[in-house]
Symmetry: C2
Subunit: 584 residues, 2 copies
C-alpha cells in the first residue's frame, strides 16, 4: 500500500458508508488540507455538494438544508479558524435538534502544538455542542482500517440522527500529498465490502399502565389545553387536532408548530393568543387545570406570562426522546413518547376526560376577536405587522417561510394566522440568534422549494454573506427585509426611554442602503412603500428563481406604538364582549 492508495480508499469508503446511511448533501468550504474529503465527496455520484465559501454561512446553510429535508447534512472545511466559524450554527443545530456531520480536516500529529501554520487544536473544539466527537486515525487501507472508516461513518450518521438529533464532529488528520487517485480499481469498495452498518430504530410507545398514570393526574381537571410549540413534523398536526376534537380542548399553535398551515380543519386552533394573553385580567379568565405541550416552548412571551401564573395546573411536556424544556420551573410530568402515537392513544381515552362546557368556546371567542383585529389591521399604511399579512397572502404553496428572530418571528406569530397552504414555517429557534438566518433560508431553498425569508435589517446585515450561495446556485429565495434601521425589539425594553445610552448601545442604526447589497449579489430589488407594491413584488418573486429582496422601511418608535395600540384594542374588545355569567 502506498500513501495515495491509503488516502483514497480510506476516505472513499468513509464517504460511501456515510451516503449509504442517509447523507445526500455535503456543504464544502474551500481549503487545501480538506482536499481528500472535498474531492471524494464531489466524485461520489449519489452525493450532492454545495460549495459555500464563508464557513459561518456554510454551517448555517447546512443547518437550513437539514432542517427542511429532515436529513443529516455533511459539512467539510479545512483546518484552523475555518472550523471555528462553524460554531454558531453548531450551537443552533444542537439546541434546535438538527442533525449535522461536521468533518474537519486537520494537520497530522507531528504538526500539532509546534507552531505549524494553520494548525489549531481541533479536538473537542465544539465542547458540549456536539453529541459526539471522534478523532479519526490517519488514512490506512488495511482491511481492519477500512472497516473502521466505514463503521465510524455509520456511527456518525446514526448518532447525529438518533435520540434528539444534533451535530457530531469527526476530525481527520491528513499528511501531504492530499490528492486522491480515483483511477484505482473499486475505489468505493462496493464490490469488495458493501455497506457496513445498517439500523432499524423503534419509537417510544407508552404502556397501558403509563397511560393510566396520566389519566390519574387528569382526574377532576376540567379546563385543559394542548400547546404545540416549535417542531418540524408536519404529520403531527392531524394527530393533535384529532386529540383536540376527541377531548374538546383548545390547541395553542405556535407559528413554528406546523399546525397553522396545511389542509386540516383547524376549528380547535388558537393562534392569536399572543395578543390577548398580554392582559392579566384576561389571563385570569383563562386559568387552566392542565396543559399538555408538544414541541419546544412557544415563541410568545405573553404565553410565558400565562404559563407562569398556572400554579395549580398539571403540566405535561411531551418529548420524543428526552429533554427538560420547561423554563418556568413548574412541577412537570415529562412524557417521553412518540408524539403522534401518544396523541392517538390519548384520543382513545376521551370518555375518561371531562372538559368543562364553555371552556373551548371561551378561547375560541377571544381568538376570533383578536384574529379579526390582527388580520383586519389598517393596510393604508405599511407596518411591520401588516407586511406579514401581505406575506401570508403570497406564500407559495409547498414553499417555505423562513422567519428571522427578534421582531420578525414575533410579527409572524401575531400576523401569520391559519392558512390552508402547505407551507413549512421554519426559524432558528434553538438559540434564537439573529446570525446566520440568510444562510439558513438559502439552505432550505437548496432543498428545492421556493423560500420566503422575513427578517430585520440587523439580522440581514449580519449574514449578507449568505446571499452568495443563493446567487451561485440560483436558488429561489425571496427576502422580505423589514428595515427599521437598527434593533427594533429593544424599543420594547425599559431602557428605550434612556436617551443617553439608547441609540448608541441598543438602537444601533446601520444607515445602510441595501439596494447596493442587492446589486452586489445580483438580486432583484424592490422598495415596497405600500401594500400594493409589496404584494406585486412578492407575487413576482415567487415565480422566478434567484434572489429577490423586497424592502419595507419602518420607524422603530412608531412600530412599538403601533403594536401597543392594536393590543390595546384587542384587549378592550375582549373585555367589553358580552360574556355569559359563568364564563367569567
Amino acid at each position: 500500500m502506498n500513501h495515495t492508495e491509503d488516502l483514497t480508499r480510506y476516505i472513499a469508503e468513509f464517504v460511501d458508508e456515510m451516503v449509504e446511511n442517509g447523507i445526500d448533501n455535503a456543504v464544502i468550504s474551500p481549503g487545501s488540507r480538506s482536499t481528500p474529503l472535498a474531492m471524494t465527496m464531489t466524485a461520489h455520484e449519489q452525493l450532492k455538494e454545495w460549495v459555500v465559501i464563508d464557513e459561518r454561512s456554510a454551517a448555517f446553510f447546512a443547518q437550513g438544508l437539514a432542517k427542511k429535508t429532515k436529513k443529516p447534512v455533511a459539512l467539510v472545511c479545512s483546518s484552523g479558524t475555518a472550523a471555528a466559524n462553524y460554531y454558531p450554527a453548531i450551537v443552533e443545530a444542537k439546541q434546535s435538534r438538527v442533525p449535522l456531520l461536521v468533518l474537519t480536516a486537520d494537520r497530522p500529529h507531528e504538526l500539532r502544538d509546534v507552531g505549524a501554520p494553520q494548525a489549531i487544536n481541533q479536538l473537542k473544539m465544539y465542547g458540549d455542542y456536539v453529541k459526539w466527537f471522534h478523532e479519526m486515525a490517519l488514512p490506512d487501507s488495511s482491511e481492519l482500517m477500512l472497516d473502521y472508516a466505514r463503521s465510524k461513518a455509520a456511527q456518525a450518521v446514526d448518532t447525529a440522527t438518533r435520540g434528539n438529533p444534533g451535530p457530531v464532529h469527526l476530525n481527520f488528520p491528513f499528511r501531504e500529498p492530499l490528492t486522491p487517485d480515483f483511477t484505482l480499481d473499486d475505489v468505493w469498495g462496493k464490490e469488495r465490502r458493501g455497506e457496513h452498518f445498517s439500523f432499524v430504530k423503534g419509537k417510544k410507545i407508552l404502556a397501558e399502565t403509563e397511560l393510566e398514570m396520566i389519566l390519574a393526574k387528569l382526574s377532576g381537571k376540567k379546563r385543559g389545553l394542548i400547546v404545540c410549540g416549535p417542531q418540524t413534523d408536519e404529520q403531527l398536526a392531524d394527530a393533535i387536532f384529532e386529540l383536540a376534537e376527541a377531548w374538546r380542548v383548545p390547541v395553542i399553535a405556535d407559528p413554528l408548530s406546523q399546525l397553522r398551515t396545511g389542509q386540516q380543519e383547524k376549528i380547535h386552533m388558537i393562534d392569536s393568543y399572543d395578543a390577548f394573553l398580554r392582559d392579566k385580567e384576561i389571563r385570569e379568565m383563562l386559568t387552566g387545570d392542565f396543559i399538555i405541550r408538544f414541541g419546544a416552548m412557544p415563541v410568545s412571551k405573553p404565553y410565558l406570562f400565562y404559563l407562569n401564573e398556572q400554579h395549580d395546573a398539571m403540566h405535561f411536556v411531551v418529548e420524543t426522546e428526552e429533554g427538560y424544556r420547561e423554563p418556568t420551573g413548574k412541577n412537570t410530568f415529562f412524557l417521553h413518547a412518540d408524539p403522534q402515537s401518544l396523541c392517538n392513544q390519548l384520543a382513545c381515552l376521551a370518555e375518561r376526560v371531562d372538559i368543562a362546557e364553555g371552556w373551548l368556546q371561551k378561547w375560541q371567542v377571544m381568538d376570533e376577536i383578536a384574529g379579526s383585529y390582527l388580520t383586519g389591521a389598517d393596510q393604508n399604511v405599511i407596518t411591520e405587522g401588516t407586511a406579514i399579512l401581505s406575506l401570508a397572502d403570497k406564500l407559495p404553496d409547498d414553499g417555505v417561510l423562513y422567519s428571522g428572530n427578534s421582531m420578525a418571528i414575533r410579527d409572524v406569530d401575531s400576523f401569520l394566522l391559519q392558512t390552508q397552504k402547505n407551507v413549512d414555517i421554519l426559524a432558528n429557534r434553538g438559540a434564537n440568534g439573529i446570525d446566520g438566518v440568510v444562510s439558513s433560508a438559502a439552505g432550505a431553498a437548496a432543498a428545492g422549494s421556493p423560500v420566503m425569508l422575513v427578517l430585520g435589517d440587523l439580522s440581514f446585515y449580519h449574514d449578507m454573506n449568505g446571499l452568495l450561495a443563493a446567487k451561485h446556485y440560483n436558488l429561489n429565495l425571496t427576502v422580505l427585509l423589514v428595515n427599521n434601521n437598527g434593533g427594533g425589539i429593544f424599543s420594547f425594553l425599559p431602557q428605550a426611554s434612556d436617551e443617553k445610552y439608547f441609540e448608541a448601545l441598543f438602537g444601533t442604526p446601520l444607515d445602510i442602503d441595501f439596494q447596493h447589497a442587492a446589486a452586489l449579489y445580483g438580486a432583484d430589488y424592490r422598495l415596497a412603500e405600500n401594500h400594493a407594491t409589496l404584494e406585486e413584488a412578492l407575487e413576482q418573486s415567487r415565480q422566478q428563481a434567484g434572489i429577490s429582496i423586497i424592502e419595507v422601511k419602518t420607524d422603530r418608535a412608531q412600530n412599538a406604538a403601533w403594536h401597543r395600540e392594536i393590543w390595546d384594542h384587542i384587549i378592550k374588545a375582549i373585555k367589553t364582549h358580552h360574556w355569559q355569567e359563568d364564563s367569567l
Copy 2:
C-alpha cells in the same frame, strides 16, 4: 440592598478595576442581557467603547486593536450564539498571543438547560482557547462580593497579559431588570475602596551559567544565522541588529518581524530569502551551523524547506515566556528569556563566537541579487507582486500595514523589503485564517493611525461586514483589494491541473463586482489598472479619513506563472554569479 443597587455597584466596581488594571477600550455588540456591562462601560469616563454589531467582526476588531496597542481590550456580548461568533477571533488571539477580556452575559442559573430563549451553555464554551474561564457570581453589593468583583477584574486583566498573552473569558449571569442606576452615590466605589490589586512583573533574564551553556553549544560553529519571525515589539530591532553587528551574522527578517521597517541601519538584514531559498542547490550553499530564532516561525515556505535540511545545525528558539514553536521537529534548545535582554547579553559575548569569513557576505550578495530583481520587477503591467511595490512606496509614516493571509502575506514577504518608515506590519498569523482580516485592520485603525490593508478577494468577501465599524467611526482605512476572482494560492497546488475538480472546489470564483460593496459602506472606490493610478489612489487615500477601496484585478493562472518566472530569474542569476571558490 436591592436588586438594582446590587447590579449597579457590582458591575461598576468590576469595570472600574478592569480600567485601573489597564483596559482602555471595550468593543460592545448590542443585546439585551448584556445591558449592565454595556451601559456601565459607556458610563465609565476613562473607557472608550466601540459598538460593533456582528460579533465575529467585533472580536476580530478587538484583536486588531489589542495587537496594535499591545494592551488588552474588553469584549462584551449578549447570551446565545452571539458568544459563539467570537470563537474564530478567540482562536486567533490565543495563537498569536493577543490579550482579550471576553465578557459574556448569560441567563441566570434557573433559566439554564430548561429550553429558555437564547440560553446556551456558555461555561467553558471556548475550550482550550482561553487562558482562563471564570463563571461570575450573581450581582451582589456586599463588601465581600464587591472585593470579589474587583479581584476577578484584576485577575482577568493580569491573566490575559502575563506569560504568553491571550484571551480570558468571564461569564456573567444576570437577572432582570437589567438597567443599572448611575444616580447612586459613589457608583464606582472610588471613595470607599479604590483599586484592589496592583502588580509589578519581572522579566526572564538568563544567568551567567545559562549563557555558558549556550556558548558551549556554539563552540566550533562558524556559520550562524539569526532569524526573526512574526512578533510585535518594534524595540527588538535595535537589539537584534546590534547582536548581528557584534557577531557578524545575517538576520533573516520576516515581514512581520518589525525589522524591515524603521530607522535602524539594516546592513545585516536578509529580506529576499523567500525567493532564493526556493532552490535546493542554493540552500545547500547556505548550510548553517546554528540558528537563533526570535518570534514565531517565519511565513516563508522556502525558509521552512531550508530549515528542514539543517540537520547538523544547533537550533535555538527564544521564547519570552514559554512555547514549543518549532514545527520541523529538530533538536531544539529553547531559551526562555526576554528577547532584548538576551540580545544584549549575547552581544557582549561576541569575542567568544567565531563566525566564518565570507558567510555573512554570501547571504548579502544573494539578498542583493534577489532584492534587485524583486524591486525591479517590470511595472508596465500591474501584478499581485508589483502592486505591493507601489504599496510599499505609499505607506504612511507611523501608520500600519495590515496584511491578509494566503497570497497577500506571501507577496508582502517577497515585495515589501526594507524601508526607513516607521510602519507596523501586522497580520493574523496565529491560525493564518482568511477570516476577520478587514475587522482586524479596522481595529488597528481604531488605535488612531492610518491603516493600509492588503488582501485577496475571498478574504475581503469573508469579512466585508468589518467595513461597517470603519464607516461608523470614520477610521482611516485603505483597502488594497487584490482580486484574482477566487482562491489564488491554490493555483500553486498540484491539484491545479485537475480541471474536473479545480474551479468548483479550489478556484471558487466569486464573480462579484466589489464596487457595490464600496457603495454599501460609503467607501471611496478606485479600480487601479496601472501603477500610476494605483499610486495616485494610495496617495489620496492615506490623506483622508474614511474607507478607500482600491481594487487591482489579476488572473490566477497568470499570477502563478509570473511568480515562477521571477523566481527562476533570481535563481539563475545567483547560480551564475561569480562566486569565489571557497564559498561554494
